[in-house]
């Protein structure tokens, strides 16, 4: 009996985690992928590891440390890229490694054994607390609200920023708010997939969606769906096969991407053949 209650709780927690992770990653991921911010997001993710290390060392919740680090580094990179004082990709590369270095130093300096470190690097559903799930749930609500209310404003600013500046003085505020929300979203998902793997949760689903639609709002919806299937399947497989959850999710998502891409290619070839058979080839 005890086993079944534990399993029931685990399934609920996994499904809720998968649901909130796919909603947040679908919304933020569509923004990241279409604005070509994948490398920037990678920088933010890894820089946040510095916050995790300091959190451990100071005895505060590492997620809070990571949140502070990721938002500061995100705003820093956005600001630097606007002011053109340094090459953006160089700035990202430096912050990426610097954050990791700080994290490693502080974790090394922390007395005693740090059992959760692997879960931060590679993700683990077993260490995900109810508070983590609730935080991710709240983040889902915030993002859904933000993207619904400001849908077109967000779309237009990220499509053509310089044109947006001709009619709006809110461009910078929107950019900074959106980037901060995304940094926070990434950090909250680190518990699920880990620092090293979390970014693929944001980049693979939109790329699956973009195989069959180019409409922004539909990319968001399909990303959430693809993300949910991949994440939920990843949890279940990882639990029963006893392999790390983050890696399993990413593996599942890539398999989905390959299958969808393959089906679309085959359908395209069949369609071309059908059209081709009805006409005479002139050349």
């Amino acid at each position: 009996m005890e086993g079944s209650i534990f399993q029931y709780e685990f399934v609920i927690k996994s499904l809720l985690g998968a649901l909130f992770a796919s909603i947040t990653a679908g919304l933020a991921g569509t923004y990241i992928v279409s604005r070509r911010m994948v490398f920037l997001s990678g920088g933010i993710t890894h820089a946040s590891f510095g916050g995790i290390g300091i959190g451990y060392f100071a005895g505060i919740n590492p997620v809070i440390g990571a949140a502070v680090f990721s938002i500061l580094s995100a705003l820093g990179i956005e600001y630097l890229s606007v002011s053109h004082k340094i090459r953006e990709d160089s700035a990202i590369g430096i912050l990426w490694a610097f954050g990791m270095a700080i994290g490693i130093i502080f974790i090394y300096l922390t007395p005693g054994y740090t059992p959760n470190l692997m879960s931060y690097l590679f993700g683990s559903i077993l260490t995900v607390t109810n508070a983590d799930i609730i935080a991710l749930g709240i983040m889902s609500l915030i993002l859904v609200f933000y993207f619904t209310v400001f849908y077109r404003t967000i779309l237009y600013i990220s499509f053509d920023e310089s044109f947006a500046r001709t009619y709006s003085s809110y461009v910078d505020i929107f950019k900074y708010v959106t980037t901060s929300l995304i940094a926070l979203t990434i950090v909250l998902n680190i518990r699920m997939a880990g620092v090293v793997l979390v970014l693929s949760l944001f980049t693979i689903p939109p790329n699956i969606a973009m195989i069959f639609t180019k409409v922004y709002s539909r990319i968001i919806i399909w990303s959430i769906l693809a993300g949910f299937i991949g994440t939920a399947a990843g949890y279940i497989i990882s639990y029963f096969a006893g392999i790390p959850v983050g890696a399993t999710i990413i593996f599942t998502l890539v398999v989905i991407w390959v299958i969808v891409k393959g089906i679309c290619q085959v359908m395209k070839i069949v369609k071309d053949r059908k059209q081709g058979s009805g006409t005479t080839n002139l050349i």
Partner: protein, 248 residues
Amino acid sequence: MANLLEMHSLSVSYDANVVLQDINFSVSESDFIGVIGPNGGGKTTLLKVILGLIKPLKGRIVFNSKLINSNSIGYLPQISTGDVNYPVTVSDVILSGMMIRKKIISRMSSADKKRTKEVIDNLGLSGMERTSLNELSGGQLQRVFLGRAVIGDPKLLLLDEPGNFVDSTFENDFYEKLRDLNKRMAILMVSHDIGMISSHVKSYACVNGELHYHPSSEITNDQLLAYGCPIQLITHGEVPHTVLKIHN
């Protein structure tokens, strides 16, 4: 005819590099001004000052309250500013021009939809509402961006090198559209290709650091009629030139 904007002794510089020097210039309601000059002469900078994207170093720019209170300024940038691989459809892009009226919009109202449809039909893009930008030809892209510039019905339309992407089949049509728009709004068109615009604009502003304005009266109707065809080349005196013989 009321002036829409006036520039008084306006200078603009990027760091130490002065791009525009002591500009005195005005645009009035039914103007169709061709802004010509060499690359790096400050043509685009002139547009950016009007749009408020660059602050002048010296002097000032005064807008008529009619221009500020109405639907502001329509702008067709050089095409490279938007990412054509961005997942956005033709009607999305054209609707974004409504932002000059609304500042922040979240969804399309039925009035917006109707207006967008009108603009799309008017530009000959019917049936392409849901097409994404990377499936369009250069000429079609140009029309989409023109649609974005005019959907808000601005009082002043700024065009930056519209000739760059216009295919020859659409060229006459494009300038016909501009002439039509000019009935409702003033147009300021930047081009380095004088031939392209000479038969369409009413007056010229030559920009090369400084700005020299040539009103339409300098190019008289008699001169135009004497050729019996659109004039393709207008230039200042003492320009070294060679005209080749007509082939037999």
